[in-house]
Structures are given as C-alpha cells and as structure tokens.
C-alpha cells in the first residue's frame, strides 16, 4: 500500500495548535482593536485552524493532486458566490434611482 500514514505526533501537534487557536480567538474577541481588525483577527485564526484540519486531519497534504483541484474548485465557486452578491449589495447606493 502506498497510503501515507500520518504519525501520531503530527496529530497531537495539530490538536494542540487548534486548542491554542481557540483560546487565542476568545482572548482576541475581548480586545477592542481599531477599525474592523476584530473581525479580521477572528477570521484569520479560523482560516488557519481550518487549514490545519484540512491538511493534516483530512490528509489533503498527502493526497492526490485531484483532491487539491476539487478543493480549490469549491473555494473558487464560494468566492464567486460572495463576490457577485456583494458587488450588487455594496454598490446599490452609488446611484440614486430608487429600487
């Protein structure tokens, strides 16, 4: 079998990283950062945690290229969903024609 077996210490490390990330995001939520930084910090931590889960717990780092392509396609289509919707909502007030 050419299946890659992820060593236990990797799983333990990722588990620790995820717990630290959770503690960090709770701490950061109570700090009053300027501008929209609270949201940006929270999302950065969440995306980092999710990336670790995908790469190691879900074995994507050791998976076939086709899996990478499928995952990238999903995120790309999600990007379209958000980009097109917000290009509408955010620009509605730019001209006052009434709708």
């Amino acid at each position: 079998m050419s299946e890659h077996i992820v060593p236990v210490r990797v799983y333990i490390t990722i588990f620790a990283v995820l717990l630290v990330g959770t503690a960090l995001t709770v701490w950061a939520a109570f700090q009053d950062f300027p501008w929209q930084l609270n949201t940006i910090v929270a999302m950065t931590i969440a995306i980092t945690k999710a990336t670790f889960v995908v790469l190691y717990f879900m074995h994507v780092r050791y998976s076939a290229r086709l899996i990478w392509v499928i995952l990238a396609a999903a995120l790309f289509w999600m990007g379209i969903l958000f980009a097109l919707t917000f290009s509408d909502y955010w620009t509605r007030n730019w001209i006052s024609i009434g709708y």
Partner: protein
Amino acid sequence: MASHATTAPETHGHPALQHHFENMEQQREAGTLGMWVFLVTEIMFFGGMFLAYTLYRSLYPAAFASASNHLDITLGAVNTGVLILSSFTMAMAVYFTQVGKHRPQVLCLIMTLVLGLTFLGIKAKEYSDKYHDHLIPGRLIPGNPFNPVVAEHGDTDPHKLHLLEGATKEKVEMFYWIYFAMTGMHALHMIIGAGLLTYLIIFSLKLRFDPEYHSPVEVIGLYWHFVDIVWIFLFPLLYLLGRHLEHG
C-alpha cells in the same frame, strides 16, 4: 491516482475488493475522491448560509453585535474544545485502523461518538436557554413567539436583551433566524455523524476494517472533520464578533 501497472498481488483477492476496481488502493482512492466531491456540495450548502450571515451582518452591525452578546460564550468555547477533541480522536481512529490496532481503534471511535453527543447535549442546553428568554425567532414554537425583554440602561440581567445603539428587536430577530438555521443545520450534521459513527463502531467490532480495507473509517472521518471546520467558523462569527463592543 493508482496506475494499472502497480497491482499489488497481496491486496488482490481481498474480500472487500469490488470487481470493477483493479486493486484495493484504486478502490480506496476512488472512495476518497467521491467523498471530497460530496464535501464540495456541502461547502456550497453551508456557503449560502455564511453568505446570508455576512450580508445581514454588514447591513445590521449593531443588532448582530447585541444579539451575539446574548449567547453564552463559555458554552460555545467548551463546545469548540469538545469538537476539536472529537476530531482528534477521529483522526486517531483512522490511524489505528491503518496500523491494524483493533482495540484502540474501537476505543477512539467510541470516544468520538461520546464527544459528539456531548456537543449536542450542550447545544440543547443553549437552545433551551434561548427558548426561556423568548429568543426563538418568528412563531416557530407555538405559544412562545420571538419576544425578548429589552434591558433598560444599567440593567445587567443576562436574560434580557441589551441593545447597542442602532439595534432594534426586529433586526436582532434576523440574527436569530440565521443563528438557528446555521447551528441547526450543523447540529443535524452532527446527528447524522453520530449515526455514521455508530455504524463504524458496530462494524469495527465485527472486525470488518483492516489496514487493507478501511475506506468507511477514512471517509466518515473526512465528513466528521468537515463538520468540525464548519463549527470553527460558526463559533467566532456567532459568539465572538460583538464582545469588544459590550462595555463600550
């Protein structure tokens, strides 16, 4: 993907090998690929709700912060820890299956199931709290419509709704529609996951999985981690986003 030339003779004749596959490795990779395609549809499904959340939060920031601050951050954080631990035990269950250690494999699967049920129990407690504070949106519950008590200035009763400037009860209700839709769909996925884990435990006890054949453990593991990832995003978005405004 597996090439046709590398048919491993020792895996050929495994009782779990279906006739349309060359060998166990090709069968396993096809299964994993299929699961990922399913998970793409799941990403799009939850993506629609994340879009609704982002949109209404950008329209009603004050109301979303006020409503979010009513959620119990301790229960939310504990549940995040429970779910992360369950993802870890799930990953370990896959590992022990791959190396052929039967007893720890079953143990890890049982631990994952127990942790999943713990998450659902804590979630039920949170839902019950929201019910008692009349925060179930619309008229979903007959006789208990959305009707929270709004706190006066200086009142610190946690059961009352503390509205920040610019927030109204109607806009807070929108947050709770989205909150219950997202956490409800997430909980439904957890319930389905608990069912799948029960199946895995039963068939593990029947010695159905081994280092050659363990696709069910692997793909249900992928599903479980996906549900964990959804919660990794739900926790900060629903529970944490308005905290820094609480005492402002």
